[in-house]
């Protein structure tokens, strides 16, 4: 806590608060519940913001898919269902471990919390590796956004429908959707490491597990977006 917050605690003595409370309770909150509720509310509002951020991409997807269904059909055959499917399973599992991490934190099991967070991070890294493999293949095959779209026939999936000339739009949408999602995964790894360190320091308890909860919410959102991305890009 900053010196400013300590000064605050002193100030509260004048206010007849007595001792202000545990050190994780920020100076401007009255009770742990208030702090927890505010954090949760703030996070949900932030998640709403995230969903609208992604919504632009989904609208673009919807418009182009309904304009050029054959193009989308042909282009999605160039994506690897197995890799996408594996990534889906991995992300779902990481979401499960994130939920378990919160559960452990709520029960005050510091060690279990740390382990679950660690598994989540490992899953996230696995996801990125698979994504990297997919991207390299696309770049290799010339399956790139609009201006750079020059498919090399020898690298394309055999037996797939012929790619129309304007399939660059599909790959523009594909790279933006998965790219922005990937950036969210990277940010997710960052914040997961942050709570993992704080958990190791023993900062969390049955009474105070807000950061674990918040980070897990964020991670579930990353999963949530992928739940839609996978079928829309790979399967349809």
């Amino acid at each position: 806590m900053s010196s400013e917050a300590t000064a605050a605690a002193d100030a509260h003595d004048d206010h007849g608060h007595g001792h202000h409370g545990p050190k994780w309770l920020a100076h401007h909150f009255d009770t742990p519940a208030q702090q927890f509720d505010a954090a949760k509310l703030g996070m949900w509002v932030f998640l709403a913001q995230e969903l609208l951020f992604f919504s632009g991409l989904f609208v673009a997807y919807g418009v182009y898919r309904s304009w050029y269904p054959e193009m989308f059909f042909a282009a999605s055959h160039q994506l690897d269902k197995i890799m996408g499917g594996a990534n889906t399973v991995v992300l779902l599992f990481s979401s499960f471990t994130a939920a378990m991490a919160v559960r452990s934190a709520q029960l005050g099991k510091q060690k279990a919390t740390g382990n679950f967070i660690l598994i989540t991070i490992v899953c996230a890294c696995f996801f990125l590796v698979v994504k990297y493999l997919e991207y390299t293949h696309k770049i290799h095959a010339g399956l790139l956004p609009g201006r750079y779209f020059h498919p090399h026939a020898e690298h394309l999936v055999a037996g797939a429908p012929a790619l129309p000339a304007n399939a660059g739009s599909f790959f523009g949408i594909y790279f933006m959707m998965t790219g922005i999602h990937g950036i969210h995964v990277i940010i997710g790894i960052g914040v997961l490491i942050w709570v993992w360190i704080r958990n190791n320091r023993g900062e969390f308890s049955k009474e105070y597990f807000t950061p674990v909860d918040i980070v897990a919410l964020y991670w579930h959102l990353v999963d949530l977006v992928w739940i839609y991305l996978f079928p829309l890009l790979y399967l349809v």
Binding site: G56, V63, M71, E207
Partner: protein
């Protein structure tokens, strides 16, 4: 929990009360999600025609609901947080519906209005899609609209 005399009457004891689900329950939710993933991948090998998209979105939405209600605890959370989530979906819906109300319905009142291809002559509108050539990546672009590589006509 280091409780204190509540400063204000509007709080109960001021401590955090959160719902804790059992491990078995979380495992159950996870297995359901995996099952749905297998279902959606399996479905992709069966062509349902126009229904494809609807089925895919239905399955994805079921999965998403499981994650939101249980993994994200919205089921047990403050009702207002659920309201935030639902209302943000509403605004996304507005975004979708209104945009598609334009893009899907251009040229309905008069076939020549706002269309990419002129229906009478089949001409592509100038300034439109130009087939990218390998040189284009390098920065050179054929500027003649006549070289248009005939984008699939959606209208």
């Amino acid at each position: 929990m280091a409780t204190q005399t509540p400063a204000h009457p509007h709080k109960d004891d001021g401590a955090v009360h959160a719902h804790i689900s059992s491990t078995a329950f979380y495992v159950g939710v996870f297995l359901a999600l995996i099952a749905l993933t297998i279902l959606t991948v399996g479905q992709s090998y069966v062509d349902l025609g126009r229904m494809n998209l609807i089925v895919v979105i239905l399955i994805a939405t079921t999965k998403a609901s499981l994650v939101v209600t249980f993994f994200m605890h919205l089921r047990y959370d403050n009702k207002f947080n659920a309201l935030i989530f639902v209302s943000c979906l509403f605004f996304i819906g507005v975004f979708f519906a209104y945009t598609l109300n334009d893009t899907e319905r251009r040229g309905e009142l008069d076939a020549d209005q706002n269309v990419k291809v002129l229906p009478k002559t089949g001409e592509d509108a100038p300034g439109g899609f130009v087939q990218p050539t390998p040189a284009a990546a390098g920065g050179e672009h054929g500027a003649t609209p006549a070289s248009s590589g005939a984008a699939p006509a959606a209208h």
